[in-house]
């Protein structure tokens, strides 16, 4: 089956680590929520109404403009095992929401996995563009372009006063949710992070853990996104978030420089110990793995660790998660055997960078 490649292949384009400021800003994402005017929102829609949504989306996908952009494939959630769905979530291609309630849900993926369009999640359409590094403007332009193509074929729910109408009042207006995933070990170590997070909240932005709503920050990874979707234009929202992201990146760099100046030995010790553990451990839990990977990532940025590309760290971040490990093993695994395989995978992958 062709969707197999989206599941078995660990690397998405956003993981290649070549975007702007990709040492700190790992990825940028823009998501647009859209609904068809004449069908009830997924929460209330019947199966046949949801099916009609899929049909209309499929027809729109026939547009030549889609084909010239990229190769797209539609995958229906009902065709996937729970594990396969989980892998798509761990790659950030679908949301935890679609995984949990995937009645008549589907996802359309571009070949390079930079574009994923969820169908019948909370809204009929969730157009998502995910880029490496700080590339919010590029991600917005890509999503905007996809939106325009759909708009030629379907009637979107749009209101002069309220803008794009969404299932949840928190998305109405532009329907845009833009976010930057950031690695901020320097701010965490120097305990500057709380100050910064509370300042961010005052600016109408929110900070979340890696998988969005309800999850905590693991491995010093934070996701900063806009909260307001009504009353500001997309350009303003993107510019505002990008400005704040650039400032956080600056703060993180300053914190790292201070650490290197004042606590170099302790920092090197921490980074090298973590590298030692990752290259030698026989058993490692996911939380520890995330923490050690964060240390090594910092070590690469600060030139303490040489020869390991950032893309490998991004890959490991995704591949050490439970769904991926089990997919890799080709079977369901107990927590114990996952910890063992996780350790082996990290060892092997880091070793391959030495040879």
């Amino acid at each position: 089956m062709s969707f197999q490649k989206f599941i078995s292949n660990a690397i998405s384009e956003w993981m290649n680590g070549d975007g702007q400021d990709a040492d700190i800003a790992i990825s940028s994402r823009v998501r647009l929520a859209r609904n068809l005017r004449d069908e009830p929102f997924p929460m209330l829609a019947t199966d046949s109404q949801l099916e009609r949504v899929i049909e209309q989306v499929e027809q729109a996908m026939e547009d030549e403009a889609f084909k010239t952009r990229n190769h797209f494939e539609m995958i229906r959630m009902e065709a996937l095992t729970p594990l396969q769905k989980r892998v798509l979530m761990e790659k950030h291609l679908i949301s935890p929401n679609l995984l949990a309630d995937s009645r008549k849900g589907a996802v359309i993926l571009s070949e390079n996995e930079a574009i994923s369009i969820m169908v019948n999640e909370e809204d009929h359409l969730r157009i998502q563009c995910l880029f490496s590094g700080l590339q919010l403007k590029e991600a917005w332009e890509a999503a905007d372009g996809i939106d325009d193509i759909f708009e030629k074929h379907v009637n979107f729910a749009f209101d002069e006063k309220r803008g794009f109408l969404t299932s949840c009042p928190t998305n109405v207006g532009t329907g845009i949710r833009a976010s930057v995933m950031m690695h901020l070990p320097g701010l965490v170590m120097t305990q500057r992070i709380n100050q910064i997070l509370s300042a961010i909240n005052k600016l109408g932005l929110v900070v979340r853990g890696l998988y969005g709503e309800g999850s905590e920050a693991v491995g010093n990874l934070f996701q900063v996104s806009n909260q307001v979707t009504l009353g500001q234009s997309e350009g303003e929202i993107i510019e505002n978030l990008a400005g704040v992201a650039r400032q956080i990146i600056e703060e993180e760099r300053v914190a790292r420089q201070n650490l290197m100046r004042n606590h170099r030995l302790q920092l090197e010790n921490r980074v090298c110990r973590s590298y030692g553990i990752l290259t030698n451990a026989r058993i490692i839990e996911s939380k520890e793995a995330a923490e050690r990977l964060s240390d090594v990532r910092l070590g690469i940025d600060l030139d303490i660790i040489h020869g390991v590309p950032l893309s490998v760290m991004n890959e490991l971040m995704v591949m050490t998660q439970p769904g991926f490990l089990q997919q890799y093993a080709g079977q369901q695994l107990t927590a114990d055997s996952r910890d063992e395989r996780r350790a082996r995978l990290i060892r092997e992958r880091l070793q391959s960078t030495i040879e």
Partner: protein
Amino acid sequence: MMCQECQERPATLHFTKIVNGEKTEFHLCEVCAQERGEMFPGGMNNFSIHHLLSGLLNNAEPNVNTFKVQQEAPLRCDTCGLTYSQFSKSGRFGCSNCYKAFGEKLDPLFRRVHGNTHHSGKVPERSGGTIKLKKEVSELKEEMRNRIEREEFEEAAKIRDRIRELEQQIADL
């Protein structure tokens, strides 16, 4: 991560409970979380954004006279059948017409969540209806005034004709 209770389903709810300074982490699937609902005040559903929203909605109208509300016919969306009180419980709309059906009543909510009640972003070509044309007309009117001020009457007349054309288009839609 698998659910710590059943070890069968993936954990979709991750949270930390602090009791007397003691921190406990939970990683549960929906099913087990619901079964253990009595552990959490008000049940697990309290954790969702929609319930937070519904808190806002109820706060938005602190002086509701319950007797009066019972007397009035419930506010209901005639397309999907969702009532305003159902909406304020679930925090989600049922269809695009709900926005029209609940109308101005939504303003306090949007003001709280977004600090604003009016969209000022992208307008789609088709579904946007006449908004784009109206915008163009007002821009042209501005330009026409400028031309007249500069006594460029020939140009101004051309713009006037274009405005008439557009206004006709709007009227036809």
